[in-house]
Amino acid sequence: MARLNDEGQWIVLMGFVISISIFILAIIVSQSALVGQTTSESVLEFSKNDIQDLRSEIMSLKERGLVNDTNLKDDIVSIALQKQNAVIVIENRTDSVSRTEFISIHFNNGITIYNETYEENY
């Protein structure tokens, strides 16, 4: 019998290495799909527009000098609770010593909590 030719063994070895690499890659890809879904969901959940709308409304009321109107405040709070499932607290106070007007906005819809204090000298 002729001498055994073992020069092709590296092909078998490479096949083995490649198949294991593909297996590991498949696991990584399946994990990343899960992460991608979670990330996109959390981006959708973030209520950026709700907060922007609320802030713009309050600033518009401030410009028109209506930020202390209780009826308007109650309406904003009710609409936010009804439509955005969010609890909102709006507070307006004035410090006569430093001549500064403070407007505090608190927004909480169970997922996003947003607090802002707007200061303006008069």
Binding site: L81, N85, V87, V89, H106, N109
Partner: protein, 259 residues
């Protein structure tokens, strides 16, 4: 010695028949091992993959329900794949023993929400003793065994307590269907928001609100108990939330048109 030195091998004892028998034996042993151990393991893996897939699907359905409840979208339609089990709807007006799961909200003086059945969209696996339910805006999983099993919450409902204003918001989402709906395979879940109600209870001075989840048949108790622990530590599926200035109970009725 002479042969070994020169690198040549003797092939006098080499028999093709024995070689063939040996290789055939190895192949048959391999096939036997795979059939005995590999195939059942593969099937178990498949069942597990189906359950994992359903957990994700239920979270997608939960997002649909949340979109309808909290974003004023009246209708949602999602096509999902139900494999290795059955998807069904337990309507909130179903009087059977299967549906003895309800929520109750009281304060120190009165009943705010009487016992309210909420129904569920339920997936029951056919291979593993597992039930996954979309119940009251939460995805809950019940692992059955001889002693009743335990449960866990895969995704929480949108309840929250705002400590700044002392407001507790409790959305109650009930599932309803006019017909008995069951499906397996490709399923198009069509949901419509049929009723929406919001009640506000201002408390002055602040009060303690008791929320009870009662489950006579199934064991989602542990899941809800653990969720209630995120508000106040409790050993039961009942929670007392103190210092509530205002309680908001939002009730949504979701009708499942088809599965």
């Amino acid at each position: 010695m002479k042969n070994r030195k020169s690198g040549q091998m003797k092939d006098c004892a080499v028999s093709e028949t024995i070689g063939f028998v040996l290789i055939l034996g190895i192949v048959i042993t391999g096939i036997g091992l795979v059939t005995l151990y590999g195939y059942p393991a593969l099937m178990a893996q498949q069942a597990e993959a189906n359950i994992r897939n359903m957990e994700k699907t239920m979270i997608v359905l939960q997002t649909d329900v949340n979109t309808m409840a909290f974003k004023s979208v009246p209708y949602q339609e999602t096509t999902i794949q139900v494999a290795g089990g059955t998807l069904s709807v337990v309507s909130s007006d179903d009087g059977s023993e299967l549906n003895n799961k309800f929520f109750r909200i009281t304060n120190q003086t009165s009943t705010i929400l009487p016992d309210t059945k909420i129904g569920q969209i339920k997936y029951q696996s056919e291979n593993e003793p597992v039930i996954i339910g979309l119940q009251n805006g939460a995805v809950v999983k019940w692992q059955l065994d001889q002693s009743g099993g335990g449960s866990t919450m895969m995704s929480e409902p949108r309840w929250f307590f705002d400590s700044t204003s002392g407001t507790l918001v409790v959305p109650i989402t009930s599932v309803y269907s006019t017909n008995a709906l069951t499906n397996s395979g490709i399923s198009t879940v069509r949901l419509i928001l049929t009723e929406e109600k919001q009640d506000e209870y201002p408390f002055s001075p602040s009060e303690t609100v008791h929320i009870t989840y009662s489950d006579l048949y199934g064991d989602y108790n542990t899941a809800w108990k653990n969720y209630f622990n995120t508000f106040e530590s409790t050993p039961n599926p009942t929670v007392d939330i103190p210092n509530v200035n205002k309680l908001v109970v939002k009730q949504y009725k979701i009708t499942v048109l088809s599965l």
